[in-house]
Symmetry: C2
Subunit: 298 residues, 2 copies
């Protein structure tokens, strides 16, 4: 591969196309930046228009922008082996959301029972609707699009179900994935101990607290409707497992804005409903883990 | 018409079929009871099964049941002129939700962007989806299915848009209806003054406070999914307009349970999303009215 300077496909990407000599895909520079190739058709332009509007929008508080969205640095033309003669191709430049996590545990959760904007053309609606009904989107208000769980320790085992496994997942499967995401056994073993639930999901800076803050924003904001966007969860397996190590750099970020719609004064009830459902799933795991902890080892 | 005793079609019904010699429709007895004929097909059985399960469910708090649902009194066979020979027909017996309101203002708001349970057969999905996209359901997460606004005073004007007008309503139209619902001018005039917004929507026992309590329940409850159910709003025009008259018997009740699904441990993200959207609409009207009040007459 011949990417310029230190550019390379992100090692721990869990969803979307992977960059190769045949395909465009995201790149990272190892210094904290993420380069997302502009998607084909009008999706890429649409996503770029969103980042441009959002990053300068006076009605979006800096707190929400910094806490829940990757920072946007404009676009950059990058030569890519996936194009004839390595022709330069436009990329959206963003924060690398997994930077600083040597042993990242990642989950990409696509939010919303409905993944198509209301004014979409019929064939697109039909296609998305079928997928929303086949996966857990319609039933749960979200689906897990990608996940990577690393066990703590040098060369710790990694669990990373493939796309077909995730697509076929039912509600019970989703619950298991969200438990496994915070279980110390990581990829190995069947007993999901949720040993990291308090550190990663619970506590002040934990996933649950961050999701609730995000929810409060979605109860009020009427600027954008985030169809087919994902919440990316990340933390570091080693840091989270270290005694007194805190949450291990827990992060909760929105990504994938190719289908964002204007809000026109109405809240994003579709995203909000799915977000509340995810909060309930994760809240249940935290409550269960805290009960187990207070009753001591059995 | 020859209904037994004092049974008659409710005077202020805003949605659904109206009872006549040709059609089955709900009846009231004037003493506080409402008789809903069992719907055809499996809908009626389904609604009855819901009322039976819900009214005895140990996990539903009495507070939620009493505050937000009509009380269920079983079924009763009633002779009806809509059937050959006045044949008796089974009716679900419920509280008459508009009892005690001499001059009722009523709104029937169907909640949820999606009105079909996820496991519905394809033709039903197609039919509902088309209606959800044609009306404001998909866009707002709810649609107004019926409304009646009475002006205060003896023989006050009544505004009651017909079904086709409601079906064609866009987001701006819904906002106008929700303003008109609390405007003193009622049916007449064009200036929607929202004079009753503070009394009906605002305050301790007002619509907004009740909707927020309902929302807290929906954030936790995983027993039922209320597809195609409505929130019925009611208050009395005269009482609300009387000086120091309080909210005029404001009520917020769930109705229409022919498509309720089991929750299976998942929250009703579809209803919750729509409910949050309705809360935002109504909250905006309350905020605007309170700003106007504090800045005084202009």
């Amino acid at each position: 591969m011949s990417f310029s300077s230190d550019l390379r496909p992100p090692e721990h990407q869990v969803a979307g196309h992977r960059a190769s000599t045949e395909k465009l895909g995201p790149l990272v520079d190892g210094a904290g930046l993420f380069y997302k190739p502009l998607q084909a058709g009008d999706r890429g332009e649409h996503e770029l228009a969103f980042y441009t509007a959002f990053s300068a929008h006076p009605a979006v508080s800096p707190r929400v922008r910094d806490a829940f969205f990757p920072r946007f640095y404009g676009t950059r033309l990058l030569p890519t082996p996936a194009r004839p003669g390595g022709d330069p191709y436009p990329h959206i430049v963003l924060d690398d959301l997994l930077a600083g996590l040597p042993s990242p545990c990642v989950a990409d959760v696509k939010i919303g029972a409905c993944t198509w904007p209301p004014r979409s053309p019929d064939p697109y609606v039909t296609k998305c609707l079928a997928k929303d009904r086949e996966t857990t989107s319609a039933l749960l208000g979200f689906r897990v699009s990608g996940v990577r769980v690393a066990a703590a320790g040098q060369g710790g085992e990694v669990w990373r179900p493939d796309r077909s496994e995730l697509k076929a997942m039912d509600a019970a499967g989703v619950r298991r994935v969200l438990r496994r995401y915070v279980s110390s056994c990581g990829g190995g073993g069947d007993g999901l101990d949720c040993a990291l639930a308090a550190a990663v999901y619970g506590g002040e800076g934990g996933v649950l607290a961050q999701l609730r803050e995000l929810k409060a924003w979605f109860e009020e904001q009427t600027l954008f409707h985030f169809y087919s966007a994902s919440i990316l969860l990340g933390y570091d397996a080693n840091a989270a497992s270290a005694p007194g190590g805190g949450g291990g750099g827990v992060r909760v970020k929105l990504v994938d804005f190719a289908h964002v719609d204007e809000g026109e004064g109405v809240i994003d009830h579709n995203f909000l409903g799915g977000l509340c459902s995810l909060i309930k799933f994760i809240g249940d795991i935290v409550a269960e883990a805290s009960e187990k902890a207070s009753s001591g080892p059995s």
